[in-house]
């Protein structure tokens, strides 16, 4: 049991941190990056690619770094610290992860190098209006057309769905839920159907994508239900998202602490008010609890090969419940302790709240995950975190 990074991992963290601090030294740069489509900085995306970050979880055969969940997690945490709008988790961990896990070798070889190089942006078109974090597709259908497939139906919201040139799409087939790839002719168009971009609660972009007999390529072998693959990929992304939220929480806390130390009211700094100090202390407690479970979930992923998917899904829900609880607490308190200034888009605290809202909502909220954990309550007498991901003793 060990919670420390090794020296290579530490070096990666420093490099990513430097890159992101340069890209987003203040709220102003982040607002500028989000002002126009695609809602993030293409330049920062390219820089991340050049550093190898966009290929972290993939094999060297497709241009990747052959790294694991620990490296992915630390990158996510760094992105969270500056609430960078780049869709690392959505494009690389989730959509890229699905191509890597489900795609044929030919598909991996065709698609993943572009992602690793930063030339390509992936999106996972999965949520449907009214769906609630299910690993299955429900209204979007895929039909065979000669030797190919065609998709029909609506996906929304799809994070970076308008910008992405590679869409991984879940759809109902006779086999259950299968996965498909739809490639834009260029960044803006599909062969058929439409994409409408909209601004998200954290000032990013998502899209509503309408498929109208849109030609699509089946991902992987035909006739295999991909529900379990999707669930596992979502859990992967969810854990990375938790780490991103932890990074955001940490910064939100320290921004608040700095504000309390410098802001004067009634002739004294706010830090002289004991009630505010105690509330900052409670924020710290929430941060550390969230960090512990998010780190642990990363380690469960890392150890996952032996223990199987069930432990990973469980760990993802456990991390999400604690992180969602902590993030709401810290985000709201950060705004409240700042007062009115935090309500403005010019100041950072409110953006942290908005970003944490999205990070802890994209893969299920606290009530959702509490419900999942409730359903499995009688499966165990107690929880032993150190035996997760191991062959059951």
């Amino acid at each position: 049991m060990d919670f420390e990074l090794d020296s290579e991992q530490s070096a990666l963290r420093e490099a990513v941190r430097d890159l992101l601090n340069d890209a987003y030294p203040s709220t102003e740069e982040r607002r500028a990056a989000q002002a126009d489509e695609p809602g993030f900085s293409e330049k920062a995306w390219t820089q991340l690619a050049e550093m190898g970050v966009l290929g972290l979880p993939f094999g060297e055969d497709v241009g990747g770094m052959e790294a694991g969940p620990i490296e992915v997690g630390l990158v996510a945490e760094e992105l969270g610290r500056v609430i960078a709008p780049e869709p690392f988790v959505e494009a690389v961990v989730l959509a890229g992860g699905l191509v890597d896990a489900v795609g044929t070798d030919a598909q991996r070889g065709e698609l993943l190098p572009g992602l690793c190089e930063g030339a390509s942006v992936f999106a996972f078109a999965h949520a449907e209006p009214g769906s609630r974090w299910s690993p299955q597709a429900s209204t979007v259908r895929a039909e065979r057309t000669g030797d190919g497939w065609a998709l029909t139906g609506v996906k929304s919201p799809v994070v970076v769905g308008a910008r992405a040139d590679v869409l991984v799409v879940s759809a109902v087939t006779d086999a259950g839920t299968e996965l498909f790839v739809v490639r834009g002719e260029d960044a803006g168009d599909m062969v058929a159907g439409s994409r409408e971009s909209f601004v998200t609660a954290d000032s990013g972009r998502a899209a509503t994508i309408t498929f109208e007999a849109t030609p699509a390529q089946l991902l992987g072998e035909a006739g295999v239900d991909r529900t379990d693959d999707i669930a596992l990929a979502l859990a992967n992304a969810q854990i990375a998202s938790c780490r991103e939220a932890v990074g955001a929480m940490e910064r939100a806390l320290w921004i608040t602490v700095d504000y309390l130390k410098t802001r004067k009211q009634f002739g004294v700094t706010l830090s002289t008010f004991q009630a505010l100090k105690f509330r900052a202390a409670d924020m710290y407690v929430q941060l550390e609890l969230a960090r512990s479970v998010a780190l642990w979930a990363t380690l469960v992923l890392d150890a996952g090969a032996a223990g199987g998917a069930r432990d990973i899904l469980d760990a993802a829900s456990r991390a999400s419940l604690q992180v969602a609880t902590s993030a709401r607490h810290i985000g709201q308190e950060a705004v409240q302790l700042h007062g009115g200034i935090a309500m403005t888009a010019e100041y950072s605290a409110g953006h942290y709240l908005a970003r944490m809202l999205v990070l802890t909502h994209g893969f299920g909220d606290a009530t959702h995950h509490l419900g999942r954990l409730s359903a499995s309550l009688s499966d165990h007498e107690w929880i032993d975190p150190l035996t997760y991901g191991a062959v059951s003793a």
Partner: protein
Amino acid sequence: MRLHLSDQDAAFRAQMREFFTTQVPQEIRVAGVEGAEAPHDHIVAAQRILNAAGLAVPSWPAEWGGRDWTPLQKHIWLEELRFAHVPQPLSFNASMIGPVIAAFGSQELKERFLPATANLDIWWSQGFSEPDAGSDLASLRTTAVRDGDDYIVTGQKTWTTLGQYGDWIFTLVRTDPHAPKRQMGISMLLIDMTSPGVTVRPIELIDGSVEVNEVWFDEVRVPANNLVGEEGQGWTYAKFLLGNERVGVAPVASIKRALADAKEHAATAGPGGTSLLEDPLIVARIADLENRLLALELTALRVVANSDRGKPHPASSVLKLTGTETQQAVTELIVDLAGPAALSRGSEAGVLPQWAAHASPRYLNMRKASIYGGSNEIQRTIIAGTILGL
């Protein structure tokens, strides 16, 4: 002790409900249903309809359009209005500057301003807060220097809600920088926002909306007869203005409507239009919120009932605190009911239900409730000091 309304009050309630739901056009009321703030033109239209029926400014003196209602009747009027989603009479006009002018203004000021204020012919803005003041209002630095029949006003105000629509602004300005206590050198001045030297800059909020503004005064010349009451008494008038409202401190009926709407939405918000009310944890959250709201409403009714006897009820301090917390908790619930659609910022993508698409911006926007108008920390200080003697 008696639970039910008197026959008279019950009839009054029925009459209000009838008016609000039949005399105010549906298109004005429906915008509120999806949880967004009422648009500017709806507020104006609604207030004029109410004013024509004598229902816009019931708390004012009778000669200026007020009604001789009991506190309970005022409470019923406001709650029925809110529950019917009628945009509330603009508080800057109806609850703030109107009563102050009526109480402290000269006859000339009253005639000049009160009818137009009641009818929302003048849209008033509030110029109290300043950039570095926060909750410490008395530290204000905007100055008004007497120059003949005018004052020359220079300084900056902020958090001016809906100031982008403002025709006039009532301000607190420092007329005597040498007053022995800083509260004593403050006066209240009415300023035409079209005057040369007035600049309004909207502030974008975290939900993407524009609700508050910064207002700059650069040597703005203001006729001295725009002074309310006496010079140096501004702090007194401001306290009167801010403490004026005993009724409606907590927007009970608005929260009730939002919660009832949320419950209705939940009934079809599940996958494929199924009901989320099959999920016991969601049901329990809603049931718990209904009960918290009930406790709030009953506390508001106790405060109202007691106001009848002329003394403010100590529990009134509880209403702002609990009201904002309950209101915020309902916005949190709606975000969670919205599911993946909560990623939206209210855009008109079309395929997501409007209530769900607006859930997150509404949640973010409502964080202001516990900050503005006396933060919840200020409320706790008041309770501890005034009620508990701590």
